[in-house]
Symmetry: C2
Subunit: 340 residues, 2 copies
């Protein structure tokens, strides 16, 4: 009884549970199956895939049993845990930062790609390509200390609103995935974010929003360097790419940070293909899932031809790979916490 | 009462406690102070510095109280948690590996620095310098998958013996530091290793020996790359240095892996100076400690002129920095678990 009520609290209010730390409770899969740990998931094959996987790896004596310290799960962030359409949230941050910093950079009014941002000229911004994007990233993400950047992100994420839902981006997280994170946590899993997005852009808010502390966030990074400023050490963010945590970089980042091969992986785009492959081709019971954005009414619908979160090869290969495709429209009873 | 008995178990047998996971118990410092969580520490200022720090940061209502998720401690490994004299354990591994691999490399018999290793010629090895050492590292650490390297380290660490104590290196860990790790864990701390040594050389055994899981190990690294071998993805270890986690690199590595500034740091050499400085110059109650090797009878005695674990600047500045120097001979009642 006590276990069931803990779980019900976990599902009703993930935020409260998060305050209790990241350790597992050792509750068995069998005990959990008696209540509904995933109430925002419809009773379809996707939900069943999660429940049967967790039951198998947490039931002692099961041939698939996995000791708690090996219960590592990895989650992509953009499009898997929160909204990435119509533009990545970090790009919205870049655009806002360029506009905020523009008064100190009068030259930006006539210099690309800054001019494109200031004039909301998406065609010119697109024409600037990856090189232009990196220039914007460096102008907004480097040249300050890690603590100063943390403060900038914290301030922005607290006040910025998306264009469609008019809500903070931290409310545009998928309720079914919050329930999944809480369910895995209650079953002794440790979850990590493995995102192509900037590691320092995520860390200031992931613990409050997902219950994932900064040390469990893996992402792309720029170099930092220790310097003395006014007699005190600071870490200065340099305008140099350090690591790109996307595609074949994801298994590399997972190994560098975790040093242990996860047993479950969740993604939504072809950028997650190698991570899913790395996780699910290992020996033993494994779970690979892909969030397929099929719900234009409640969220967005896109896949093969999308400029964000392109999902093409993953859709083709999911069945033969044994990956479960989550059909957002059919499999999720609720998308956001603020949905009715 | 229940809390005290948990702690007594923790101290008597850290290994058992480790199996219970890394989460804190939320036991308050005040409750812990009533028993002796650090029985291998003599009743000196060093022990008192630990006890009063932990009590201050774990007592709710204390001006120094730190919320559990911020209770992060960092430990150097070589010379701080285990023996590093007369040579770093990883160098002993390199030497053994060169000898083991030599039959496949007949050219090594007449090629430096390999010849020096095969002939136990320390003068020639020393003459090869850092460049020679890196060549030896790459020949023994790269050119195989991460899983293959894990297996090599696991096999070596299980069978190798040091020259003086004739024991496995994993028994040459300092009993007072194991007690400290268990004490911090019981008080809601999360501890990380931050070592100049190779990250993949430590991860295979740190959880069993220290209760520190692979994801909490930070170290120097070589690059890895995702490749397909026989249709399955592997991470291949490349002969290229990726990151040196020493001196000014330690705060960089801490930030990259943890994303949170620790509140306690433990080191033993000038390679830990910047880490200690980074941790202890932040706002709030902080703890910085240096293990000073003063005990030639039970372990080793060295500092300013040592080829391993050189401690010079740290000794000069400890008092003004507020760092506590642990005098191994005076402060530790027992050095190793196998001591009487």
């Amino acid at each position: 009884m006590k276990r069931r009520s803990f779980l019900m609290i976990a599902v009703a209010s993930p935020g409260m549970v998060l305050l209790n730390g990241t350790g597992g409770t050792g509750v068995s899969g069998a005990a959990l199956a008696q209540s509904d740990p995933l109430p925002s998931w419809n009773d379809t094959a996707a939900k069943q895939a999660i429940l049967s996987f967790v039951q198998a790896v947490t039931t002692e004596g099961s041939p698939d049993f996995v000791t708690p310290s090996e219960r590592v799960a990895v989650f992509d962030n953009d499009g898997t845990l929160w909204v990435e359409s119509p533009i990545y949230t970090q790009l919205a941050f870049v655009i806002d930062r360029v506009k905020a910093l523009a008064p100190d950079h009068p030259e930006w009014a006539s210099t690309q790609p800054f001019q494109a941002v200031l004039e909301n000229d998406l065609a010119a911004l697109s024409a600037a390509g990856e090189e232009g994007l990196i220039e914007l990233l460096m102008a907004t993400h480097a040249g300050m200390t890690t603590e100063a950047f943390d403060a900038v992100v914290t301030g922005w994420i607290a006040t910025a609103r998306d264009g469609r839902f008019k809500r903070p981006y931290t409310e545009l997280v998928y309720q079914p995935m919050l329930e999944l994170l809480a369910y895995l946590r209650a079953n002794g899993f440790e979850s990590f974010i493995v995102s192509g997005g900037g590691i320092e852009f995520m860390r200031p808010w992931t613990e409050a929003v997902y219950g994932i502390p900064p040390q469990n966030v893996i992402g792309s990074s720029i170099r930092t360097e220790l310097r003395m400023v006014d007699g005190k050490p600071v870490l200065m963010r340099l305008p140099q790419v350090d690591f790109i945590d996307d595609k074949a970089g994801k298994p590399v980042g997972i190994n560098a940070h975790i040093g242990r091969r996860p047993i479950a992986a969740f993604g939504n785009s072809d950028g997650d293909y190698e991570m899913l492959e790395w996780v699910t081709t290992a020996e033993g019971r494994r779970l690979g899932m892909i969030v397929h954005h099929t719900d234009a009414a409640r969220e967005y619908a896109y896949d093969r031809n999308s400029p964000v979160g392109r999902l093409d090869r993953g859709l083709d290969d999911a069945a033969t790979r044994g990956w479960t495709v989550i059909d957002m429209q059919a499999d999720w009873g609720r998308v956001f916490g603020f949905d009715g």
